[in-house]
Amino acid sequence: MKSLIKIFAIAVVLISAVSCQENGRPNYQFMPNMYESVGYETYSETAAFRNGVEAQLPADGAIARGHMPFTIPNTLEGYDEAKQNLMNPLDSTLIDFNKGKELFDIYCGICHGTKGDGQGTLVKREKILGVPKYDDAGRNITVGSVYHTIYYGKNAMGSYKNQLLDEERWQVSAYVMKLKADLEK
C-alpha cells in the first residue's frame, strides 16, 4: 500500500515536469538586460508618446529623404489631371519590366491577374469580384492614372503607396501599360 502511494507521487512529479512545456509564453532568458533593447524596438510600446506606440506618423509636411512629394490631390479632378498630364519620370532605359513584373505579381496580380485581365487568384476564388481588365474601354487608363490609382487607391481598391517606393510605383505603372498593350493586341 505504501509503495502504491510512492509510485503515485513519482508519477505526479513526472507529469507536472512534462506539463511545464508551455508554448503560449516566451522562454526564460539568461541575461535579460542583454536581450532586451534599451532603445525603442520597432513597433514596441512606449510611454514616450501620447498614444503609447513607438511607430509614429511623420510630422505634417515632412518629406522623407530620397522621396519626392506627390502634389496631385486625391480627388476626381486630380485623377483626371494625372490621367492627362502625368508622365513616367523614368525613361525607357530605366524601365525594368522584370522588376515591374516581380512587384506586379506580388501586389497587383493577386486580384488583377498576372496578365492584367482581372482574373487573379482572389477573383477566381470569388473572394473579390468585378476587377476590371486593363484594356477596359470605359476606363481607358494611362500611365498617369495608374500611378494616381496606386498612390491613392480608387473605389474598392486601397492605396499601395506604403508598400511600394516612388520608383517601384513607376516601374509597376509602366508594366501595367505593357500588359494593357498586350491585351489590346
Binding site: N27, Q29, I110, L122, K127, I128, G158, Y160
Partner: protein, 429 residues
C-alpha cells in the same frame, strides 16, 4: 430529280431551324437570363455594387422595380450604365441625386454592354434573395454534433479504462487479503524477507554505490546541460494574438505572397507588422468569410467576428462604408525576437540573397496559428551560412569578388561563409 427534292427538303429544315432559333433567342432577350447576368454582374459591376449591401455604389437588388417606383424606365437605366456622367450633365434630377448621395464618385461608363447584356444583369438583380438553405444549416449542425460525439466517445472510452484499472487494482488487493487470511487460517507462516534488506546490502557494497553515484551525476549533468541550452530559445513559441489571423487561409489557400503584407522585408531591416490599411485593401470588400472557409475548429461566425475586430480597430463603419476616424492600435504579440546584441537585416536575406521566407519561418502557409519554426540560435545561423551557396547569377555586384574568392578557395561556388558571413562583426557590434 430525287436529289433536287432532297436538297429542297434540307433547305426547308434549315429555314425552320433558323426560325425556331430566332424565336428562341428573342424570347431570351425579352426576359433576360439570370445565369448569364450573374457572370456579367460579377465581372463588371461587383467591384462597386452588391445585391444587398451598400458598397462604393448602392445595393442593386430589384433595382428595376425600385426605379420604376421613381418613374424611371429601363431606358433610363441603359443610358445611366452606358454613360452616367452624360446623364448627370444633362440635368436629370434622379441622376444628380444619386451622384451627390454617393460622394460625387462617378460610375465608370460601360458602353460595351449590349441591351441583351443589360437585360441579363437586370434579370439577375431581380432574382429573389436566396434564403440560407435549411438543409445546409441542418447538415452543419449534424456535422457539429457528430464532432462533439467524437469528443464524448473518446472521453467515455478513457473513463471506462480508468474504471477498469481501478477495479483491477481493487481485485488484486482483495485477492491478497483473502490469501493472507487463508494462510492464517491454515497456520502457514508467511515468511517475511529473510536476511539483510536489499538497501542495506546495497549500502554495504561500496563499488555499487560509487557506480550509482557516477551514473546519477552523469544523468543529472545531461539533463542540466539540456535545460541550460534551451534557455533563451523560443522554438515553438505560439502566443495567442489579439486578432485570430490565419496564415493558412491568407498565404496558403488564397496564395497571397508573403511580401504583399510584409512589404518592408524587401527593403528594410524589419519584415514589419502590416499596418491595418493593408488588411483593408482586401477586407473593405471581404466583410465575411465564405462557408467553405469555416473549419471544424473555427466556425464562420468566429472568423466573421475576427473581421469585425479588424473593423473596430481600424475604425471602419461597414454599413456606411466609411472610416469613423476612431482607431486603436492592435497589440500584436511579437514571436520572432532576436536578442539585442544580434544584428539581422531582412532585406539582405530576402532581396539580395533571395532566401525564401519559409527557409527560416517554416511552413507558414500551413499555420492556422503562427509559431516560431526555427530555434534562431547562433549555431543555426552559422550552419545555414556554411551550407548556403551565394547566388551570384544576375548579380553584377558579386561577380568580381566571387571570381577572386573562388580562385582563392579553389571551389566552383562560394558559400556565404566563404564570403565572410562567419565573421563576428557581421552580426555583433
Amino acid at each position: 430529280m430525287k436529289q433536287v427534292i432532297h436538297r429542297k427538303f434540307s433547305k426547308n429544315i434549315f429555314r425552320l431551324a433558323i426560325v425556331i432559333l430566332l424565336a428562341f433567342t428573342t424570347s431570351i432577350s425579352a426576359q433576360g437570363d439570370p445565369a448569364k447576368g450573374k457572370a456579367l454582374f460579377n465581372s463588371n459591376c461587383a467591384a462597386c455594387h452588391q445585391l444587398d449591401k451598400k458598397m462604393t455604389g448602392p445595393a442593386l437588388r430589384d433595382i428595376e422595380s425600385r426605379l420604376s417606383e421613381e418613374g424611371l424606365d429601363k431606358e433610363w437605366i441603359h443610358s445611366w450604365v452606358r454613360n452616367s456622367s452624360g446623364l448627370i450633365k444633362s440635368g436629370d434630377d434622379y441622376a444628380n441625386k444619386i451622384f451627390n448621395e454617393y460622394n460625387n464618385v462617378p460610375m465608370t461608363a460601360f458602353p460595351q454592354l449590349s441591351d441583351e447584356d443589360l437585360d441579363n444583369i437586370l434579370a439577375y438583380t431581380a432574382e429573389k434573395k436566396a434564403e440560407p438553405a435549411p438543409e445546409a444549416a441542418a447538415a452543419a449542425g449534424a456535422a457539429k454534433a457528430s464532432g462533439e460525439g467524437d469528443g464524448i466517445s473518446n472521453k467515455i472510452i478513457l473513463g471506462a479504462l480508468v474504471v477498469l484499472f481501478g477495479l483491477l487494482a481493487m481485485a488484486l488487493i482483495l485477492v491478497r487479503q483473502t490469501l493472507n487470511r487463508f494462510a492464517e487460517a491454515k497456520g502457514v507462516d508467511v515468511k517475511e524477507s529473510s536476511g539483510l534488506p536489499l538497501w542495506k546490502a546495497f549500502v554495504q557494497n561500496q563499488f555499487l554505490v560509487l557506480v550509482t553515484v557516477v551514473f546519477f551525476l552523469l544523468v543529472g549533468a545531461y539533463y542540466a546541460y539540456g535545460f541550460m541550452m534551451q534557455v533563451g530559445v523560443d522554438q515553438g513559441y505560439q502566443p495567442v494574438q489579439p486578432i485570430h489571423y490565419s496564415h493558412k487561409i491568407h498565404a496558403g489557400d488564397n496564395g497571397i505572397d508573403c511580401k504583399y503584407c510584409h512589404s518592408s522585408a524587401r527593403v528594410s531591416k524589419t519584415s514589419g507588422i502590416p499596418s491595418l490599411n493593408v488588411c483593408m485593401n482586401c477586407h473593405k470588400s471581404i466583410y465575411e468569410v465564405a462557408e467553405s472557409t469555416a473549419t471544424p475548429e473555427h466556425s464562420k461566425e468566429f472568423y466573421d467576428g475576427e473581421i469585425q475586430k479588424l473593423y473596430k480597430a481600424v475604425g471602419w463603419d461597414d454599413t456606411e462604408q466609411k472610416y469613423t476616424g476612431e482607431s486603436q492600435p492592435v497589440k500584436w504579440v511579437r514571436i520572432h525576437n532576436l536578442p539585442d546584441f544580434v544584428y539581422f537585416n531582412h532585406s539582405q536575406h530576402v532581396t539580395v540573397a533571395g532566401v525564401e521566407c519559409q527557409t527560416c519561418h517554416g511552413p507558414v502557409e500551413e499555420m492556422e496559428v503562427m509559431y516560431q519554426h526555427a530555434p534562431l540560435t547562433m549555431g543555426w545561423c552559422i550552419n545555414c551560412h556554411r551550407e548556403t551557396n551565394v547566388k551570384v547569377k544576375d548579380n553584377d555586384y558579386y561577380t568580381k569578388i566571387h571570381e577572386e574568392l573562388s580562385k582563392k578557395y579553389g571551389v566552383e561556388e562560394l558559400t556565404a561563409a566563404q564570403m565572410g558571413a562567419l565573421e563576428c562583426g557581421k552580426c555583433h557590434y
